[in-house]
């Protein structure tokens, strides 16, 4: 066995569900500790490290499904999506997508993972310099509409089919009831970073559409016009513009 074959063997032996029988053909048994036990040290550490890493980012999910089920979901996931990155921060990158296509899981499980990954994304994002609120507010509306304004990479939006906002509140407040099932109710959440903490904004449908429009449109006018047309009352129009002003005021947009 050359050194590359040895590494291939040891890698497979660490991630395998069952420890291989031939450890003593590859590893030394010395100092009163057999090869199987020595391999076991690495196998155990791998499991602990991966679980702890996912637990750190998916605390709400673990609380909702329970520790045992969470552990089982982690291992199912890692079989399909082992880490390929230099950092464990990326370990959960595909967790939500993976959970959402598992037929044996209720749909809110994947949604909870998506919420928690949005927090990770917001926390870690590299942001360009935000658009200046004073400068923007001084512009005539026509000029403002021609500006290409985009949400910062740390200003992350997700739309859920369950009321995960109140569920997350309960988790943060440590008032989550055991066995809780989130209520089916559309919920639009925007995550943003303020003083290096990730915060949440729950927004109504029109504001959500404006946020999406800003992500996808050529300029502010293109994002605003179709949403403004949906606002049926002056009150709705006012709320929509208030959302935009809040985002600019919190420095969550940048000029692309």
């Amino acid at each position: 066995m050359n050194f590359e074959e040895a590494q291939k063997w040891m890698h497979a032996a660490i991630v395998a569900e069952e420890a291989p029988g031939e450890a003593d053909e590859v590893l030394k048994s010395t100092n009163g500790v057999c090869a199987h036990r020595r391999l076991g040290v690495y196998r155990d550490m791998y499991r602990v490290r991966m679980s702890e890493s996912l637990q750190m980012d998916y605390g709400l999910l673990q609380s909702v499904v329970g520790e045992e089920e969470f552990e089982s979901l982690c291992w199912r996931y890692l079989k399909d999506f082992p880490s390929t990155s230099y950092t464990l921060n990326d370990l959960g990158r595909n967790f939500a997508d993976f959970l959402e296509i598992q037929a044996d899981l209720p749909p809110y499980v994947g949604e909870i993972a998506r919420l928690e990954y949005a927090i990770v994304r917001s926390f870690d994002a590299f942001d360009p310099t935000p658009a200046d609120w004073v400068e923007l507010s001084a512009l005539p509306l026509e000029t403002l509409c021609q500006k290409s304004l985009r949400p910062l990479p740390s200003f992350v939006g997700e739309r859920f089919n369950y009321n995960l906002n109140s569920l997350y509140d309960a988790y943060v407040d440590e008032t989550l009831s055991p066995g809780i099932v989130p209520q089916e109710q559309v919920c639009n959440l925007l995550f943003f970073r303020e003083n290096f903490q990730v915060r949440r904004l729950s927004v109504e449908d029109l504001s959500w559409k404006l946020y999406q429009g800003l992500r996808e449109s050529r300029d502010f006018g293109e994002a605003l016009d179709p949403v403004l047309a949906l606002a049926k009352t002056p009150d709705e129009q006012q709320k929509l513009l208030a959302s935009f002003q809040e985002w600019v005021g919190r420095s969550l947009l940048y000029s692309a």
Binding site: H11, V26, V33, V41, N89
Partner: protein, 288 residues
């Protein structure tokens, strides 16, 4: 290329920068000679950690210590990782960059562990080439740390210390000598820790690590928990006499105490380093 001697001045006694101490460092600027940052915690992130490190680099000398270079791995060196590392090192004016003599995975799958090298002539040549590649890219010599190990291969032909020595002599890289790791591995494999220290070229040692470990059934685990145990202090005394004083760093990663406790532990290392070194003899059976 910047050599080990050009980079590794004796910075004194540093501590590993950990999230729980960010506020202490940012608000009260405690007296610490230098900080070691875990490279991967600051790569590819634009959040608080990177901002904190950037600000602290204006007040403290920073050294970057990585765990994912996989210098002994079979997959090609990750150029994207190197690129990010170089940018970060420039940004925080890293005094030097270190990683481990190990491999971390196979076929681009990262197990995020410091896995034991097979010590053969072929793997030695392989690692030498990769160290050259990394150093050429970074434009500076790197330091390689001896990891703690819990297993070794039946076909190993040379010792870890000899392996490390050969890499250093061939590539000009330096050594981050982790005294706790030497102790842990020597107990786990029934080897003589002093022979390990004696085998290394002293002039290539650029930095020391000190840490605690845990007793497990039949072996020691490099857990970085608790104060530095007495046998590790003993080996540190021996190392100081053999190698001389170097930039030293205390690692404490499990049940991390207050910064005050961490700095008290660091004082012990300072005291030892200040004592006159006893004359020692290199192991009589060692032929280098």
């Amino acid at each position: 290329m910047l050599s080990v001697a050009e980079q590794c001045s004796n910075l004194g006694f540093g501590v590993g920068l950990r999230t729980v101490h960010y506020t202490d460092f940012m608000e009260s600027c405690p007296e610490v000679d230098w900080l070691e940052a875990l490279t991967e915690n600051y790569l590819g992130t634009g959040g608080r950690p990177r901002q904190v490190l950037r600000q602290l680099s204006m007040r403290y000398p920073i050294v970057l210590h990585g765990v994912s270079l996989s210098i002994g791995g079979s997959s090609p060196i990750d150029r994207h990782y190197l690129k990010l590392l170089k940018v970060l090192a420039d940004e925080v004016q890293a005094r030097w960059i270190s990683d481990h003599l190990c491999w971390t995975g196979y076929a681009h799958h990262n197990l995020h562990d410091l896995l034991p090298m097979p010590f053969t002539e072929a793997s030695l040549a392989h690692v030498k080439n990769r160290v050259d590649e990394v150093q050429n890219y970074l434009g500076r010599a790197i330091l390689l740390e001896n990891p703690s190990s819990y297993a070794s291969f039946v076909f190993d032909g040379i010792s870890e210390a000899q392996f490390l020595r050969e890499i250093v002599l061939s590539t000009g890289c330096g050594i981050l000598l982790d005294v706790n790791n030497v102790y842990v591995s020597s107990v786990n494999h029934g080897l003589d820790a002093k022979v390990y220290i004696d085998t290394l070229p002293a002039e290539a040692v650029g930095q020391f690590h000190l840490a605690g470990h845990s007793q497990r059934e039949g072996y020691l685990l490099d857990s970085h928990i608790g104060p530095v145990p007495e046998p590790v202090w003993d080996l540190f005394r021996y190392t100081l006499a053999r190698v001389g004083s170097r930039a030293s760093l205390l690692e404490w990663d499990e049940e991390i105490p207050s910064l005050e406790v961490l700095l008290e532990e660091n004082e012990k290392a300072k005291t030892l380093a200040a004592l006159p070194s006893p004359a020692i003899q290199i192991h009589p059976e060692l032929h280098l």
